[in-house]
Amino acid sequence: MSQIPIPEDQHFRPRLIGYDPARSRPWLERTVYSAYVFVFWAIVVGTYAGVPALFEALGWDVGWGFVLMRAVQVVLLFLLSAVIALLLILVLRKYLGKVQERYGPMHYGPAGGIQTIFDALKLLAKEDFVPAAADVLTFRLAPAITFVASFAMFAVIPFATGWVLADTNVALIYLIAVSTLSAYGVLLGGVSSGNKWALIGALRAGAQMVSYEIPMALVFLTVAVWTGSLSLGGIVDAQMGLWNVIPLALPFVLYVIASLAELKHIPFDFPEAESELIAGYNVEYSGMSFAFFFLAEFVELFLLPALIVILFFGGWHGLLFGLEPGSLAAGALESLYFTLKTAVWVWIFLWIRATLPRYRDDQLMEFAWKAMIPLALFGLVLAAYLRLIWR
């Protein structure tokens, strides 16, 4: 076994090793993804200012015309929720890529900008498979329940002064009711799949729901006590002088934790936990049934940060540069502030997702029942007391 001398240049064929951020063209990325925020904002302005203005010009803003206007707005909101889902999936993939020293989507559209269109088309083209062991009706119904429940939360979310579908005075109670309903979809979907992993995922979802919903409801109550209103518009108006995050710092922290649990987001993603339950409750779903679970998850990934902004960060409040509140220009500017504040919170949630491992499911329950509920009650009493002596 004599050694064959190998010339040095043939000895090693250098390959491209390592991550070079410059190759992903960061300025193009920033431009494209900022432009997407404005697309989102434009749809919001169109829905809440454009459509009413159009109907008013046509003289259809009373009676059945009003119903038609609301219907058009709901359709536009459905479009908005689809845009949110497509956008957030793309942002999630791109952001995880950045955190993990890789590029993320790069090839379809500028800086990978239309990658999710293809993701959605793939899901549309896939067979919608129903396992033989599944309970077909429940199995089919579950994604619809989850999506509709998430989508229904849009009804009370104000994007600017008066820019809301239903400025009801029970908005917070409505939110509690509707967000609980979305957990039912997960529960039913997992139980009806006829799969043991899905069953465990569904049971975990149920256990998780009863743990985080109570502190969440207590935090809503605290905000209502402090601001004196159950309407989201009223809550935002009450924060004119001081954002709630300062007097209600403790409920704010509890609400962020409960939101992570409601989102089934790392560190509380027990119902899906891909390294434990493979995909958990949605393991048997494919095609558009799966896409609706996915859509609901990403709509919530927008709505829960939006609620953080509404409840604790002054909603749409920001510098108006002398514009009169209630005018179209002021509304457009306010909704832009709201969008940007929400985007910051979405980013924080994604950051948490990229960094942390997962807790164990019983640890969340223990934490929720032994720490979060007492602290939420303490926060409630403190807020009531502060309100008595302060205001």
Partner: protein, 375 residues
């Protein structure tokens, strides 16, 4: 026994029998564990192996001695040359081949580089099992550098087939020592980040402390070795107990922990990575830059009739091989003693009574590699 090998208990409806694996993402390949679950608590656990069985030992009986080395690589495929060493040492002993000092040091450097690579893979996959996706990508970049260094010299990345009787197959690349020194600088910076991400993370503490406790007595009785044994407080390391190659020339410590839980196993592997960096730093200094890389070995390897057992401390524990020779140019029998195989024996002990999520963390802390377990 049925194929499930776990029958439902008569009269009990509260126990669910689930099949974890062989396609489960957290089983590090193809382990199948049939679990009895009572809610989230595991009542029974029966592991099944053999889905990656490739008949290594029998194939090796039909190959000549130099050909066997290439097969040993395929056992523990994340730690490359570490698998070749016990067989090479055993045959060298039987033939009385002298290994030059420089060749020993080069072998040890590759051995420790692969220990770092293997522990990096462990760290990434263990964190993936705990739900953190990012460390997996970080550790794989670092491993990529190690594999690049190995490729420059040995020509292959994961299965280099580099050791041979009497030394190594070819001299190291001229850049080798420079590359290793640069990598160690990089690795020391990265270890700070890994400490933050893994060892100091409160979520990791919550998931691993007090979980899957393996007592010292049980660890010895079950024959586990390597980091799993040292995390139970037994300071047994083949590198110190039966030194081979250049280990007598370098200073290092055996990190042990008295706790025996999953966190202790994480911690011990982390400390081993620091020790590997320390060993490599010393070897970069003391290894002669030029000199023989291979001693005199006969052209036809025909060990005299007899048998020899040699063991090394690979990334998972004691990797041994028993070579039986009948005087021909093919081994009569080759028996591998796999560390991951022995470590997997404690799975039923640790799983029963644990929560299902704990089982995932426990399995991650054992760091099984199924190429070596199934062979």
């Amino acid at each position: 026994m049925s194929t499930m090998s776990l029958e439902p208990m008569p009269g009990r409806t509260d126990e669910m029998i689930v099949n974890m694996g062989p396609q489960h993402p957290a089983t590090h390949g193809v382990l199948r564990v049939v679990l009895g679950l009572e809610g989230e608590r595991i009542t029974r656990a029966v592991p099944h192996i053999g889905y990656l069985h490739r008949n290594h030992e029998k194939i090796e009986e039909a190959r000549t001695y130099p050909m066997v080395i290439a097969y040993t690589d395929r056992m523990d495929y994340v730690s490359g040359t570490q698998n070749e060493l016990p067989f090479v040492l055993a045959v060298e002993d039987m033939l009385g081949i002298e290994v030059p000092d420089r060749a020993k040091k080069i072998r040890t450097m590759f051995f420790e580089l692969y220990r770092l690579a293997s522990h990096l893979v462990w760290m990434g996959t263990a964190m993936l099992d705990l739900g953190a996706i990012s460390p997996f990508l970080y550790t794989f970049w670092d491993r990529e550098i190690i594999l690049g260094i190995v490729e420059k010299t040995a020509g292959a990345r994961m299965l280099p087939n580099y050791y041979t009787f009497g030394g190594v197959r070819r001299d190291v690349h001229p850049d080798f020592f420079k590359d290793v020194a640069a990598f160690l600088d990089h690795m020391e910076r990265r270890m700070v980040d890994y400490e933050h991400l893994v060892l100091e993370s409160p979520v990791v503490h919550a998931r691993t402390k007090g979980v899957g406790v393996l007592s010292r007595e049980r660890a010895i009785a079950r024959g586990v070795s390597g980091p799993v044994l040292r995390a139970s407080g037994v300071a047994y390391d083949v590198r110190k107990a039966f030194p081979y190659d250049a280990y007598p020339d370098v200073e290092f410590e055996i990190p042990t922990s008295p706790d025996g839980d999953t966190y202790a196993r994480f911690w011990v592997r982390f400390q081993e990575m620091y020790q590997s960096i320390r060993i490599l730093r010393q070897l970069v200094e003391i290894t002669p830059k030029t000199g023989p890389h291979k001693g005199k070995a006969p052209a036809r390897i025909k060990p005299p009739a007899g048998e020899r057992y040699r063991a090394v401390e690979n990334s998972r524990g004691e990797l041994g091989v028993l070579v039986v020779s009948d005087g021909s140019d093919k081994p009569y029998r080759v028996k591998h003693r796999g560390a991951a195989f022995s470590n997997l024996q404690i799975v039923p002990d640790l799983f029963v009574g644990a929560k299902f999520s704990d089982a995932i963390a426990i399995l991650a802390s054992l760091d099984p590699v199924f190429g070596e377990i199934d062979r």
